[in-house]
């Protein structure tokens, strides 16, 4: 068994034991923290496809996180006031059903990612980072100045949306749901990374010229990667909004893009469990340091700086390679 696999298994055991312990001890707050971790990790798994496999440094994944959130917010707010989204040319009504919201959230994110990706992929390097950031800011300012759905104040939902057969207001049941989705996303990521598509994407990251020379357009592969990546992050956005029963333009902000990036890099870029380790550490630090000092961001900054400067490859990467000679 490889070192990385051992680490992954250890991580899974810890992340399953903590909520189990919290459930037995009846500590709903810890369960909520675990749910938050799973959702943020899911957003990271999405970004990891573009960033880790494709080498596409998107500084605008908050767009998709926010779109997922607003899809949920808009559909649910119409459902709770019994007013249709639109009546002509055909009737669209709001909904409180999670599966439908998830489907629409991923579809909307994927569609927008297709447009943003097609434009952004004309550039590369720093320009790619900056153009994705610009699209993020566009959506952020649009959400702030669009009065129909709360504008700057955001949008509250009174009751969490429903999932057939589950009581989603029960912290344990909602947590299990998010864990299950995270599990599916991880399985999908590992399949994707080893598929011919994943290998091509990896090749296009390392040597676009050679990929082109064997007759594959890197553009197509990379665009498809951005679309899948965005769909998963969009799903995470919808779940995150449902966890808080609240959406606001903050979900679109560039700090959100930065944080999703932090999960991936803190954990290990391109590693299967990188985003999970990163999100778990982030939520843990936020909770532990946030209780110690109101200036906990200083410590987060120092840890982040330490990881970038001295632990290249993130937590999973560093642990998996310690003791081995670096190739």
């Amino acid at each position: 068994m490889s070192r990385e696999r051992q680490i992954n298994i250890a991580l899974v055991i810890v992340l399953l034991t903590v909520p189990l312990w919290a459930w037995i001890k009846d500590e709903p707050f810890t369960l909520t923290l675990c749910t938050r971790m799973a959702i943020l990790a899911l957003a990271g798994v999405g970004l990891n496809i573009a960033l880790g496999l494709g080498g596409l440094v998107s500084f605008g994944h908050a767009v998709f996180f926010g779109l997922g959130g607003y899809t949920m917010g808009i559909l649910a707010s119409h459902a709770q006031t019994y007013s249709p989204l639109m009546e002509s040319p055909f009737l669209i009504e709001g909904t409180k059903s999670m599966p439908i919201i998830w489907l629409i959230a991923t579809a909307v994110s994927a569609l927008v990612a297709f447009l943003i990706g097609a434009l952004s992929l004309r550039t590369s390097g720093v320009y790619f980072i900056m153009i994705t950031l610009a699209f993020g800011q566009m959506f952020y300012y649009f959400a702030i100045s669009w009065p129909a759905y709360g504008g700057e104040d955001g949008l509250s939902i009174y009751v969490r949306n429903g999932f057939p057969g589950l009581n989603t207001l029960d912290p344990v049941q909602y947590m299990v749901l998010t864990y299950a989705l995270l599990g599916i996303a991880l399985w999908f990521f590992s399949r994707l990374a080893n598929s011919s598509f994943g290998l091509t994407l990896n090749a296009a990251r390392q040597s676009p010229g050679r990929v082109q020379a064997v007759g594959i357009r890197p553009f197509k592969v990379q665009l498809f990667a951005i679309v899948i990546s965005a769909a998963i992050t969009g799903l995470a956005g919808a779940l995150f909004a449902d966890l808080n029963r609240f959406v606001s333009p903050t979900m679109f902000s560039w700090q959100t893009s930065g944080e999703i990036m932090i999960f991936v890099i803190l954990g290990g870029v391109g590693r299967l469990f990188g985003p999970v380790a990163g999100a778990a550490l982030f939520v843990f630090l936020e909770h532990q340091l946030g209780g110690l000092s109101e200036f906990w961001h200083i410590y987060l900054g120092l840890i982040l700086l330490g990881v970038v400067l001295f632990a290249r490859g993130g937590i999973v990467g560093t642990l998996a390679e310690s003791g081995l000679k670096r190739g």
């Binding site: 590369s124 320009y127 980072i129 649009f142 890099i265 906990w296 200083i298 987060l300 700086l305 400067l309």
Partner: protein, 306 residues
């Protein structure tokens, strides 16, 4: 829409533009010479503003405050370059983005810890208060005119520094071929520290000048930072000329865009509807401008093909 309003907004746009140029010049120099994306540039802007506010409160002199903003920001820049930034030159952009994002967190919370969460105020000195009457009868605040003047002077000074002086020659050589200039016996790491400190000082000056119009508070640097990035990306990263043109473009779009959009929409929509749509899109205009420029010219107006 009166012509006077347009004229006033053009001046506001130029004032905002030269301010952005002070920020963007440092960013684009650092990227051009060292190949580094520095998100923490906004923190240096904030540090300059805080230094100016603290010195102005202690001494009452605005000129001393400006000098302090230059000095403290340059010192902070040199220190950060020495401790952290120089380890990032050979890393990929992802590492640079993340490490400098971490620096923002440290600087912002550190400043909050030192000065508290409440904003500080920096007053415009008496001799710069009031308005001047421009040809055509427009009354315009003297302080804003002064900002435009300072910005233009800095732009000229920077041009002369880069085009005419020995350090300018070295900076340009460093942009083209860093191994060669190191082989010729120039201490490249000192040069890098100097370039970083110059950029930091300009950001600090911008922070102090704007701090006298707005309040001085933690987090004031980030919105400006993002606009400065938009500027250098539009202009072409590494190009000072591009940064200047880009800064004016962004400044004018920000200040003129909303009234022009409103005028355009009012010509075929009801006033209330036109106003709400113009409000919605005017804050997005700059980013739309940037996206259009990049789609048409993927490395900016004056950038080298990457």
């Amino acid at each position: 829409m009166s012509l006077m309003l347009v004229f006033e907004q053009i001046l506001n746009g130029i004032q905002f533009g030269v301010m952005l140029f002070l920020m963007a010049a440092g960013l684009t120099l650092v990227f051009g010479v060292m190949g580094l994306i520095n998100l923490a540039h906004g923190s240096l802007y904030m540090i300059g503003a805080f230094a100016a506010a603290a010195v102005a409160n202690a001494t009452g002199s605005f000129l001393l405050a400006l000098a302090a903003s230059l000095g403290v920001a340059a010192a902070a820049g040199a220190l950060v370059e020495f401790l952290v930034i120089r380890r990032l030159y050979n890393r990929d952009h992802l590492d640079q983005v993340l490490a400098t994002f971490a620096l923002i967190l440290i600087f912002s919370e550190g400043t909050r810890w030192l000065f508290g969460s409440f904003p500080l105020y920096l007053d415009i000195p008496d001799y710069l208060k009031g308005a001047v009457i421009l040809p055509g009868g427009l009354q315009y605040p003297l302080y804003r005119l002064t900002i435009i003047l300072i910005g233009l002077l800095v732009a000229i000074a920077l041009y002369l520094l880069i085009a005419k002086t020995k350090i300018g020659v070295r900076i340009r050589a460093g942009e083209n071929d860093r191994e060669m200039i190191a082989a010729l016996g120039v201490d490249i790491s000192k040069l890098y520290t100097a370039v970083f400190a110059i950029g930091a000082a300009l950001a600090g000056l911008a922070g102090a000048l704007v701090g006298a119009v707005q309040s001085v508070q933690v987090g004031m640097g980030e919105p400006v930072l993002i606009l400065a990035f938009v500027v250098i990306v539009i202009g072409g990263i590494g190009s000072i000329k591009g940064a200047f043109i880009g800064a004016l473009l962004v400044g004018l779009t920000e200040k003129l865009g909303s009234i022009l959009l409103l005028a355009l929409l009012s010509s075929f929509l009801e006033p209330a509807q036109a106003k709400s749509i113009a409000m919605m899109f005017s804050s997005m205009l700059i980013y739309i401008l940037m996206a259009v420029v990049l789609v048409v010219k993927p490395s900016g107006l004056y950038g080298r093909r990457v």
